[in-house]
Amino acid sequence: MTDEKKAALDNLKKVVKEELYKCIRCGECRTVCPVFRETPAERYTARGKMQIAEALAEGRLEFTEHVREALDNCLLCTGCAAQCGSEARADRVIMAARQAFAEELGLPAIKKAISFALTQGNAALGAEARVGALFQPLLFRGVPGDSGLYRRFAMPAVDERQYIPRLAAVPFRKRVKFAGKAEWPAVTFFTGCMTNYAMTEIGDSMVKVFNALEIAVRVPSEQGCCGMPMLISGDRAAVRKAAERNVRALAASGPEEPIIVVCASGGHMLRHGYHELFGDDPELGPLLEGIAARTMDVTEYLAARVGVERIAALVGEGPVLAVTWHDPCHLRKAQKLTREPRAVLAAAARSPVREMAHPEACCGLGGTYCLTHMDLSKRIQTRKIEDAAASGADCIATACPGCIMQLRDGVRRGPRPDMQVKHVIQILAEAL
């Protein structure tokens, strides 16, 4: 057995030991699982996946592609963990199992293909942008030169029309290093890939709002991908690299300065993911504490540190926007933020939020899930879009660029193709 294999298996055993004793096998996690809802089979529930992981860890079950299929069919939305009365973290177990699979059988075929598609033909963008990141397959296919918003994917298993955000001519972090006056208090901005490469308007909105509040925005240029996409595929070594790089880049602004994220998944990684994966890493571990404590979602910062009254005053009078709110899984379930984003959104829209049915339901993106399980992903997306449209709002607001991409893709096929999809910070910036 190679060292990596053994390490991954040991890690799986450890996580299984830490999480499985909590599970009383009640099955409550089944009822919130978007995958189970579409394909009711125990193998797709958190309860089932944890039992499979335990059997793998204990050597009662072999690592086969058929077993892997069960663990791969998961959005890592953390809905199960958030629902579980005993706080069993199925998502941790599933990720540890995927890492073990990556060592035992190599990366899954489809993920390898995506990775391959990436490395071919896009060398121009530089290695930095290619770390196997989540949305790169989508981004790179949309490089300028293509016109409309729809592209056909010339990739395995990706054969549907899919909305692709256009790649920005200049990445956000190339343009912005520090915005605001030196004498203002400052925040450190962790942009995330999507905001940096494609939806740069989110970054610009962030700057506009914070500067209007007389807060400077520092954008460390050494930061990179948060590592979530690699984690999803079970590529632990790549996650570690990403973590180390970010931790070093973010530590530069000192132990006090808040780190602001506009991407729910990135926030989840900085706050929990790194710590859970590398907390006892002798080199990385000690650096992580400060990072997690400093990290805040942008809506949380605005609600808790700035105050909704001040936001409302800043927004002042003006046109009212009919908005509804989509809870990103990694914001609501992983970071427990529900009131703050709604409060900020209501202030920005000058109107109470029109709640859709099931605002907490996953949009179906799940990192590369939308590519590897396109059918199911689309079914989950369709429910979301129907609920959003029924809310009567004209705009879906959320706080994760990934969700935005998925929702925009769905809206165009749904009952209200005219609906807009925006990051809450963008709505706020536009209201100023």
Binding site: P40, A41, E42, R43, R47, L61, A70
Partner: protein
């Protein structure tokens, strides 16, 4: 071992996607929420229609393969654990609410519908499905019917059986029968519906149910009352019932439960408070003030120490806190608990608690009790504490026998499953057991449907 031919025919019937014989799938259909019992099935099949269920059961008869119907697998007594191997019949795909008939206050559902979903759906229409087991959020209607599940509101609204008007059932031989009707008054033929309610998947597979619902009460009032002793609380319960008010919830915590919860969440219990009642009434808003007054007076006459009334939703939550906190508060005393689910006629509860105290004393163990005072259902938690002593299993039997000696039952709402079969004779005498056996034999001559459950094997 299943014959390859049998597997092929199952696959031909439902397709590759809806059956599996893969090792990982056998592992994940080997359990329910019971902590100990596990057994591996040999395959799993997920039917979508009554016809498919019938065809599967016919095949199972032909090849003499055991079949175990499975809902949410939240059962506490190993009801879905395939102790004799065979096929798991996963009812997950029967998850549709087929008809909501507001005028007649009934709903037709498939058995795989999660109970909470049914409740939320009818709630939007101003209706209520009253049975509310603590597992409402994840157990299925089919499982609830098969277990005749109870819940907090049983004292006023009864248990699952009171809401099942009719069933479509596939008999173990594959024949499809229909029991009951949509009519409230219906004396046509034997009352077969109730034969299947609580049959724990041993007499037939439920594929459709006609469920009764009621108008949703306009308002709820919540209060708690504490007493020096459980005897005082018992007097208060008697006094409450004597006023003619029927609470929708009447939960109790005994002395140890109160102490444990106080230590964990500091809800303000005084040292002399040795029993707590959590009481709710529901109905038209204008009537409830009177009900609350009656209850307060009744408690007042019986030595109440503190009487609290919730004036808002937050205060209601506050009052519920002590009851809800119990399950995690007890972890502070021990992480190894044995528990049991018994019931006694309600007037016997104080006697039962005294007997439990004696058992605790005799075996030097800690026993805490809580449960549904209003329906006599006591949940007994037992532990040796944190000293690592193995739990004296005789104590568990003594608890159940204490209930039996007070005309109580060895299982109140969690079923017999495969874990209590050997104690069945404590409640069921020989001729009655013989009758049960002949029913089973008649409906399931080859004994393929959920064998090893409810009754001990002959």
């Amino acid at each position: 071992m299943l014959k390859q031919e049998f597997k092929d025919r199952i696959e031909a019937l439902v397709g590759k996607d809806r059956c599996s014989f893969a090792p990982e799938d056998l592992i994940i259909y080997s359990y329910d929420a019971n902590a100990e019992k596990r057994a591996m099935p040999e395959g799993v099949v997920s039917p979508e229609t009554t016809e498919e269920v019938a065809a599967i059961l016919k095949l199972a008869n032909e090849y003499e393969v055991p079949v175990v119907p499975r809902g949410g697998a939240s059962g506490y007594t190993g009801g879905v654990v395939p102790v004799c191997g065979g096929m798991i019949l996963a009812m997950d795909r029967f998850n549709r609410i087929l008809e909501i008939d507001r005028d007649n206050f009934l709903v037709i559902v498939e058995p795989g519908v999660i109970t909470r979903e049914l409740q939320e759906t009818v709630d939007k229409l101003g209706l209520m499905y009253p049975p509310d087991p603590a597992s409402t959020a994840f157990s299925t209607i089919g499982g609830n019917i098969a277990e005749n599940s109870g819940g907090l509101r049983a004292v006023k609204y009864g248990v699952t059986k009171n809401y099942v008007m009719g069933l479509e059932v596939v008999l173990p031989t594959g024949e499809v029968v229909r029991t009951g009707s949509k009519c409230i008054k219906d004396v046509v033929g034997y009352n077969l519906t109730e034969l299947f309610v609580g049959s724990e998947g041993t007499l037939g597979v439920i594929t459709k149910a006609v469920i009764r619902v009621v108008p949703k009460p306009e308002a709820v009032r919540t209060m708690t009352a504490t007493f020096r002793t459980l005897e005082d609380a018992a007097e208060a319960v008697k006094a409450i019932f004597a006023t003619g008010v029927r609470p929708s919830t009447l939960e109790f915590l005994d002395r140890i439960s109160v102490e444990v919860v106080e230590r964990a969440i500091h809800f303000g219990a005084k040292p002399e408070e040795g029993a707590l009642l959590l009481i709710e009434v529901d109905g038209p808003d204008i009537a409830l003030d009177g009900d609350v007054k009656h209850i307060e007076d009744a408690c007042g006459k019986c030595g109440v120490i503190t009487f609290r009334k919730a004036r808002s939703d937050e205060e209601r939550e506050e009052l519920w806190k002590a009851r809800r906190a119990l399950s995690f508060a007890v972890c502070e005393i021990s992480d190894q608990w044995e528990d049991d689910d018994i019931s006694v006629p309600i007037s016997r509860i104080p006697q039962m608690i005294r007997k439990l105290d004696e058992i605790a004393e005799r075996h030097k163990i800690i026993i805490y009790n809580f449960g549904h005072y209003g329906d006599g259902n006591i949940h007994v938690g037992m532990t040796t504490g944190k000293d690592g002593r193995p739990f004296p299993m005789e104590a568990k039997d003594e608890v159940v026998q204490a209930a039996v000696s007070l005309e109580g039952r060895i299982a109140a709402e969690h079923g017999i499953g495969c874990v209590k079969v050997h104690n069945l004779h404590w409640n069921i005498d020989e001729p009655t057991l013989r009758m049960m056996r002949s029913f089973k034999k008649l409906l399931d001559p080859k004994g393929i449907l959920n064998p090893g459950k409810v009754m001990p094997k002959e």
